[in-house]
Amino acid sequence: MSTVTCKNLYKTFGEGELAVHALSDINLDIQAGAFLCLSGPSGSGKTTLLNMIGGLDTPSRGEITVADRRVDQMNKAQLADMRLHHIGFVFQAYNLIPVLTAQENVEFVMQLQGMPRQTRAEKSSAILNEVGLSGLESRRPAELSGGQQQRVAVARALVSEPDLVLADEPTANLDSHSAENLMQLLENLNQRHGTTFIISTHDKLVMSHAKRLIKLRDGKIEEDVTQ
């Protein structure tokens, strides 16, 4: 079963002679449970494609379906609702809300979903334990290392059991040891929970963990390899 499909997807920034074609004719079918990397040089369209799939940006043309819902036809509120209930995000930096503790950051999405306090507390404790942050629940982001912050972000992305997790350069600000630990964590979670992961990266270490690798160049799919 497909979690994400893109049909004839285009994204153009600017108009006329200044137009930049960030994505051109992208056709993609991503199965549920996939562990997929989008790679390519800077400006190849990785982040743009990730943003389109996550409903953070709208395509100029084409169709995007996530969990059987047409993302390209949704309004702002519907997009927010879809992100809330079906997609988890891990960004490169500024991932966490600075005024909330690690546990509160993890519970943030569940609170938006209106989940009862008891359930939230149980789930957040379990996931923080799973990502190896047990005992650090009450620390604020400024009191955590970069790797720990990314783990909190991963915990937050997974805790509400979304259909899809989108990670944009999740290891960019981490040393190689922390990056390897994070990727092992994501891989384990993918295997254990069956959650679909789409990760954009430059990092060869990240690519080595991918089951499927899509290389983009100048907004087009250059290579689509299943490893």
Partner: protein, 421 residues
């Protein structure tokens, strides 16, 4: 309530609780900026409440002093008396219906007077004055006497046949306490009547027009002089609250058909206008202070929103709807406003307490207040309405002003906000 409604309410409660926690912590992310903003709101609120209390105190004092200058809160006359305050426009003593209406618990005291034009003559000078016949025991609170008597004594009864005159009048007539004068006026038949009186008291009000304009004697003495029998020129009364008189005036009009019943605002248009202007001034003053304050508030919130652009993009990416982002900024604004109001009200209270028993503004070098009908001792007047209005203005208009930064925050496009450096 259906299960889905209960579920929705619970969700809304959970989300609002979360937004409240984030908003509270957000306002303390920049302590210095928050404290400056709270200081600005507190000073603004203090300026609203304290200055209004002082201004109201001034106006109140002027009104109370003026009311004691023979006006009272309400007067009853024959219809033509105010156009021609002569003896021919006098009225009968109060009827039983009117006397009954005057027993209203809201009416503190009332009295009848004779008040006619007359000429006072000494051996050296003659001057036009108003002869006022009073019942001294009934004038408590209605008249500036006996507090202002500087020489001699106050009238003892309505039958007292001495006269009390102002110090300036005594000076112009070149007479002293105990000397005799002659008062001359007209009776109802337009015949000249006159009589010699002894000056038993001299009053000093510091207001020349009062001191040279009025001569007081006993009510019955004046009635005998003017051949009026029990007729009087006016009935004056004071109530417990000079601001709310309409109900009393209506009842008295019913009880005294054919007579003119007027509140002090109509008897002294200047004073009435002053009170109305004061009410308008308070509102304008509040708006001016608020507008100055709102620039700071909007700027603070805009700065806070601008600094958190990426964070706002993040929470949008996580699924927070624009309406909730708007709500979060409004909650932050609400916290700032409430804290500022608490401080402002506290500051106002602390600055009013030391002067509540009177503030001698002559110590500030203010002189000549008596010519404006004002006392040098100022008693601040804090009206609950003024305090409520200032708080409501700050909260309601503050939240309205905060809509702009809140709207700016809510309209961020997530991807632009996240990628902004």
């Amino acid at each position: 309530m259906s299960a889905s409604h209960a579920e929705e309410n619970r969700s809304l409660g959970t989300v609002t609780a979360m937004l409240t926690i984030i908003a509270w912590r957000n306002i303390w992310r920049n302590h210095r900026r928050t404290l400056i903003m709270l200081g600005a709101i507190a000073v603004g609120v203090w300026a609203m409440i304290w200055l209004t209390a002082v201004m109201r105190g001034m106006v109140d004092q002027m009104i109370v002093d003026s009311i004691k200058n023979l006006i009272g809160h309400v007067q009853i006359h024959a219809p033509a008396y105010r156009d021609d305050p002569s003896i021919v426009n006098s009225m009968p003593a109060p009827t039983s219906a009117l006397t009954e209406a005057l027993q209203d618990p809201a009416i503190t005291t009332w009295t009848t007077r004779v008040r006619v034009p007359a000429v006072i003559s000494s051996e050296r000078e003659s001057m036009g004055v108003t002869l006022v016949g009073i019942s001294p025991e009934r004038e408590q609170g209605l008249l500036f006497l006996p507090e202002t008597i500087s020489l001699g004594r106050y009238l003892e009864s309505a039958q007292d046949d001495g006269v009390i005159i102002g110090a300036k009048l005594a000076e112009r007539l070149e007479i002293q306490l105990g000397w005799r004068i002659v008062l001359m006026s007209q009776d109802p038949e337009n015949e000249i009547v006159d009589r010699g009186f002894r000056v038993v008291g001299i009053f000093d009000t510091e207001m020349e027009a009062i001191e040279t304009g009025y001569v007081f004697t006993g009510l019955e003495t004046a009635q005998r002089l003017l051949n009026m029998q029990t007729q009087v020129s006016e009935l004056a009364l004071i109530t417990q609250d000079y601001r709310h008189l309409q109900a009393i005036v209506d009842r008295l009009r019913t009880a005294a058909p054919g007579l003119e019943v007027l509140p002090w605002q109509e008897l002294d248009k200047y004073l009435g206008t002053m009170l109305a202007v004061m009410d308008g001034f308070v509102l304008i003053w509040y708006l001016v202070v608020f507008i100055a304050m709102s620039f700071g508030l909007v700027n603070t919130l805009l700065m806070a929103v601008f600094e958190r652009t990426r964070e706002i993009g993040l929470i949008q990416a996580l699924g927070m709807k624009p309406s909730l982002i708007l709500l979060q900024v409004l909650i932050e604004s609400f916290f700032l406003l409430i804290l500022g109001l608490v401080l402002g009200n506290l500051l106002s209270w602390l600055s009013i307490i030391p002067i509540q028993d009177g503030w001698d503004i002559s110590a500030l070098g203010v002189e000549g207040l008596e010519y404006a009908g004002m006392s040098a001792i100022l008693y601040p007047v804090v009206l609950a309405n003024d305090v409520i209005l200032s708080n409501v203005v700050v909260i309601v208009l503050g939240l309205i002003a905060s809509l702009y930064p809140a709207w700016r925050a809510a309209r961020h496009v997530p991807v632009e906000a996240i990628t902004r450096i």
